[in-house]
Symmetry: C2
Subunit: 262 residues, 2 copies
């Protein structure tokens, strides 16, 4: 299994604190030694850092922890390989351009017996995760020639998620840089921080931050992770089948797949 | 104008020396203050570092200079903006997946009155360079459903290069991680280093390397740049219209577009 990290915010926000917590799970407090990656949107651009080495030992991870990159949407991942060799091409998050935007995707879980008909987008590596991402984009492209509103994308995305989870475990984060879509098949959590901000303390490292000192009263920042990253805040745990769509830190749509879809 | 940097080698080789020279031109010895980027292939994976800030002041550039990433194919670029704002989305090199491989592209020059019919691949930013890259991939995709041998790609690529240079200046580097294609419309140079290796001294920084101590007798490493990076070696300067295809450090095909194509 792997660990996901996501952020949606209404102002460019650095994720150093949450990233530091996640990185400990990459070989120190967790078993996820098989690579890590994180994508930061800057406008329509996407800054991607990846390393097939354990995050707790990675020089690139140290740079990212030291370097407060501010972004409104972030997707990160640390990997414990189950399908696919340990190599850069198999390291999440995966990126493709669709309708002139960078789409970024990370997956926690594994899919058995999943071999989609790959039309346009094709995996570079050999993970089930990248195959699912390519399949999802192929489905969207087959339905829409031009980018529709995200609300119109949701039925296609949810139908695909329902299919993927029938093949195993499929927790995922997906973004086009504007919105962030989160789907839970087994495990996902989020917290939305807004005024009045308080202190937060990492579970995985002895590190505390006082968000009061780092924010303005209008900031809204949602952080998503496979498991809560702090031990003194109330995280919301997703139910299996639950999904949410985030924009500017706020949940703008949510729902749950029917049992029949399970 | 911008500066290009490319490498093709028969063993994973670090490009720290050449990159250090190039980076000086990003705001110190050269005027290219509007961002930089470099992509390193690792197998089929591509490690991309980019920054819209001047390379001589970029913390990410310092990491890359300090961190000997070994690769067989590298494409780098520093930018002096002429078309398109200074932002991450407009920072070279550009990447797209085609036929399950990462294609990477960087361009030096500018194209006037160039507005291709963008079918599948579309620019994320607003540079003429990314539009040309997308157009080139759309052309390849329109001709070949599956990846052919690179020899079969060349006529399509050269026809596209002939078209682009009619719109202005089009020096470029393109790779799918296996081969590296170089095209010169106005300015490009290369050097192939092989045994017996000697010392090399950078033009843009007081830095010398003794390749003898860093290599084995079988290593073949070709470095390409807009202008020679060292002042004590014999670089080959391209003629306008000249192109070369590199694989494992060796030139495996070359030619020159006819005057009629100019």
């Amino acid at each position: 299994m792997c660990e996901l990290l996501g952020m949606s915010a209404n102002v460019p926000t650095d994720i150093v604190f949450s990233f530091t917590g996640l990185m400990q799970r990459g070989g120190r407090t967790g078993p996820h030694r098989d690579g890590w990656g994180i994508g930061f949107y800057e406008g329509r651009g996407l800054r991607l850092f990846q390393d097939p080495r354990a995050s707790s030992e990675s020089e690139v991870a140290q740079l990212v922890q030291r370097y407060p990159i501010k972004s409104e949407v972030v997707i990160g991942h640390i990997r414990q390989a189950n399908v696919g060799r340990i190599c850069l091409a198999n390291t999440h998050p995966f990126v493709r351009e669709l309708w002139g935007r960078n789409w970024c995707f990370a997956h926690n879980g594994q899919l058995a017996g999943f071999s989609p008909d790959l039309r346009f987008y094709r995996p570079v590596g050999d993970t089930d995760s990248e195959a699912a991402f390519c399949d999802l984009l192929n489905r969207l492209r087959a339905v829409f020639e031009e980018a529709p509103e995200v609300a119109a994308l949701l039925p296609v995305m949810l139908e695909a998620c329902a299919l993927y989870r029938r093949h195993g475990v499929f927790n995922c984060l997906l973004s086009d840089g504007d919105w962030l879509f989160s789907f839970c098949s087994s495990k996902l959590a989020h917290i939305t921080r807004r005024a009045p901000f308080g202190p937060a303390h990492l579970k995985d490292a002895d590190m505390q931050v006082d968000f009061q000192a780092e924010t303005t009263p209008n900031d809204v920042v949602t952080v998503l992770a496979t498991e809560p990253l702090t031990d003194n805040e109330d995280w919301t745990l997703y139910q299996p089948g639950e999904w949410r769509l985030w924009r500017g830190g706020e949940c703008v749509a949510q729902g749950q797949l029917e049992n029949a879809d399970v």
